[in-house]
């Protein structure tokens, strides 16, 4: 008997089932199909203005910085300002995201590097799939548009988030994922990011910039 068979036999013996019972199959099938939401906190709910306000307050609590600009076209200037104000090198790496590519980067003094990170980049810019008001969390999905390495390797991670993509809760992100990838489908990597990297491993002292970015800056574009 294979290990797999032995394990399933042991589970079914303990539960007193065969695995072929109709009601159990129905129960599991419908739960996977319907994906009931459970208890969803009220904190993130509200219209788009309220969601953005909650998002900003929650992101601030987890040491992310946030600024707002009028439109996506204003994002490059804000990225340049942030890097200048923090004395960071004037170069950023980014993926082939269509919205990022449509922005006027040439109007800034920034050097633009394309593709995944090799671990030696100072700064990266990503486009968020969504922002979650409830906890000030960014949702980023992998792919050529936004390589996952950009979320972790550079010292400074700057994320552009469309105002309309600020949703109330995690469940709203899952609904959007099902629209984008189909039911039961998923991006290879979904990163939910709340603030910059940190560690409290040394005597419970909280320090920012453990293995991932030391700074997380979010640019919300109207």
């Amino acid at each position: 008997m294979s290990a797999r068979d032995a394990i399933f036999a042991s589970i079914r013996r303990s539960l007193g089932v065969t695995g072929a019972e109709g009601p159990r199959l129905f129960e599991v099938g419908s739960r996977l199909e319907e994906a009931p939401a459970g208890v969803v906190p009220r904190r993130g709910q509200g219209d788009v203005e309220a969601r953005v306000e909650t998002f900003k307050a929650e992101a601030d609590r987890v040491q992310a910085s946030v600024s707002e600009v009028e439109s996506l076209a204003d994002a490059p200037a804000e990225v340049a300002r942030f890097l200048r104000d923090n004395n960071c090198p004037a170069s950023v790496r980014m993926g082939a995201d269509e919205q990022l590519e449509a922005m006027p980067w040439s109007a800034t003094p920034l050097q633009i590097l394309r593709g995944a990170s090799d671990g030696y980049d100072a700064n990266a810019v990503s486009m968020a799939f969504a922002g979650i008001a409830e906890t000030g969390t960014l949702a980023l999905v992998s792919g050529a548009g936004n390589p996952t390495t950009l979320n972790f390797l550079p010292d400074n991670h700057i994320v552009v988030l469309r105002k309309d993509d600020v949703v109330a809760d995690y469940e709203s992100v899952f609904a959007r994922l099902r629209t984008a990838y189909g039911k039961g489908g998923a991006p290879r990597t979904l990163n939910l990011i709340s603030g910059p990297s940190r560690s409290a491993a040394i005597e419970q002292t909280l320090l920012l910039g453990a293995h991932g970015p030391r700074r997380l800056h979010i640019v919300i574009a109207g």
């Binding site: 994906a35 990597t189 491993a201 419970q204 293995h211």
Partner: protein, 475 residues
């Protein structure tokens, strides 16, 4: 299990821990968790309802575990990943070592995983000539020290910054010997530099999983440092090692559990990085692993289903029970002698390594009930410890003095008049003997107690007679 348990020596472990001044100093930091948890819970009005929801999700999943595992496995295969089932630690180690060999791996980076500790994976990789590097800062520190984690989410909580400075000076010999390492910031910066190079050169990344999502086939990890992500996206292959009961039905169910996990663990509303990984890199992906494997471990869990310790399988490894345990706070995690310390360890360890080896742990409880009160999935930990005590007694595994002592007590307890007489007499005698200080700093047959703290002298009369006098007076 390859990790040799010192659990049978629990009593002497405890003695060592209580007399270790350095450890006692370090353990003070563990108490911060309790305040943060309360603050996080109070900020979320739905917290108690979420605990009920989390518990119901786990119960539902365990009741249908075979079917959710099948659904999960199907989705992993559809996304191009591989699932390997293993019955025990030996099988799991063998498969992982074979996978690493077939990938030609020389260096493996590792995210924090208690299952990896449970199966003794690092020793197996080292024995196969593969360099295994722990990347969670706490795990990295204890790996340098040749130790095991003393806490399931804060593995180096027993270590002081002075210890870490010495460890780094010993291990990082290429760096200038006169560098300043007196502050936590400097220690972190040094570890970041050393481990960044390891991340970039590793051939295989091994992580655990907080959840496995049946709906999509995703493995979910939760970290604050980002080390788990660098472990799983940079190398050629990502191997997930997880126990069977980590499976949950849907993404929505995962969100319910995530909402109680971080709050119960560190008092954060959300951990910094929650990552869902589904299969290997796709055709247009510029990064990510080319191979994705999941090693599922049973190691006795399937036999716990349907039995009196089934509820333990709800555990989501937040560590709240140990953070709130007066016994854990006094002795730390290493005294428990195996992988899982604190109340959850006291219940799980006898299930996994046997009551003969682990049976002493359930005795290390004051039954204060704080562990159950804070458990995000409401596991009745004290009750289960009581079950283990009964089993230990039934199997005649408890020490002889205890068995005689209990027999002696039971003789009186079954004879109420005699019991009252004897306890009244004892109370009066002990009260008189201890009347000057109100406590005893030594007592015959009770040195196990008085060695570490005084024994309070009883009041003149017993609780029962005071109760009778009081209720008589109010009638």
């Amino acid at each position: 299990m390859s990790e040799v348990a010192t659990t049978p020596k629990f009593k002497s472990n405890v003695h060592d821990a209580l007399t270790d001044a350095r450890l006692q100093g370090a353990l003070v930091h563990a108490r911060n968790f309790t305040f943060r948890r309360v603050a996080a819970a109070e900020r979320l009005p739905e917290f108690e309802a979420l605990r009920d929801s989390a518990r119901a999700i786990k119960d539902h999943t365990l009741l249908h575990l075979d079917l959710y595992l099948e659904a999960y496995e199907r989705k992993v295969r559809e996304s191009g990943g591989h699932v390997h089932y293993t019955q025990d630690a030996e099988e799991a180690r063998t498969i992982i070592v074979d996978l690493c060999r077939s990938l030609g791996a020389k260096t493996v980076t590792k995210g924090k995983s208690m299952i990896s500790e449970e199966i003794g994976l690092n020793q197996a990789l080292e024995a196969a000539g593969i360099d295994a590097v722990e990347t969670d800062l706490g795990e990295y520190i204890i790996q340098l020290r040749g130790e095991t984690p003393s806490h399931i989410i804060a593995p180096a909580i027993h270590v002081t910054k002075q210890d870490i400075e010495q460890d780094f000076r010993r291990a990082h010999r290429d760096l200038p010997p006169n560098r300043d390492l007196s502050e936590p910031e400097q220690l972190l910066a040094e570890a970041r530099g050393i481990l960044r190079a390891k991340f970039l050169s590793a051939d295989v990344g091994i992580t655990g999983a907080n959840f496995l999502v049946a709906e999509t086939g995703a493995s979910v990890i939760v970290t604050n440092e980002g080390n788990g992500d660098l472990t799983q996206i940079l190398p050629r292959a990502h191997i997930v090692v997880a126990s069977l009961e980590k499976v949950v039905p849907t993404m929505e169910d995962t969100a319910q559990l995530l909402r109680v996990l971080a709050r119960s663990a560190t008092g954060q509303d959300a951990s910094v990085y929650t990552t869902f990984s589904t299969g290997p890199r796709r055709p247009d992906d510029p990064d990510g692993p080319s191979e994705y494997h999941v090693v599922l471990l049973d190691n006795g869990r399937s036999s716990m289903l349907g039995g009196e310790f089934e509820n333990m399988l709800r555990c989501i490894r937040c560590g709240a029970c140990m953070n709130h345990c007066p016994v854990y706070q006094a002795v730390g995690g290493h005294a428990y002698g195996w992988v899982y310390p604190g109340p959850m360890g006291a219940v799980l360890t006898p299930s996994l390594i046997g009551v003969a080896e682990g049976g002493q742990l359930p005795n290390a409880s004051t039954f204060c009930g704080r562990c159950e009160a804070v458990c995000p999935v409401r596991i009745p930990l004290p009750n289960m410890m009581r079950h283990w005590r009964e089993r230990e007694f039934e199997r005649r595994l408890s020490p002889t003095p205890l068995r005689y002592g209990l027999g002696f007590w039971a003789f009186f307890a079954r004879r109420p008049t005699l019991y009252r007489l004897a306890t009244n007499l004892a109370a009066r005698v002990l009260h008189r003997a201890g009347r000057r200080k109100g406590r005893f700093s030594s007592a015959p047959f009770a040195s196990g107690w008085t060695q570490y703290r005084d024994l309070a002298a009883p009041e003149r009369t017993t609780f029962q007679s005071q109760w009778r006098a009081k209720s008589g007076a109010t009638k």
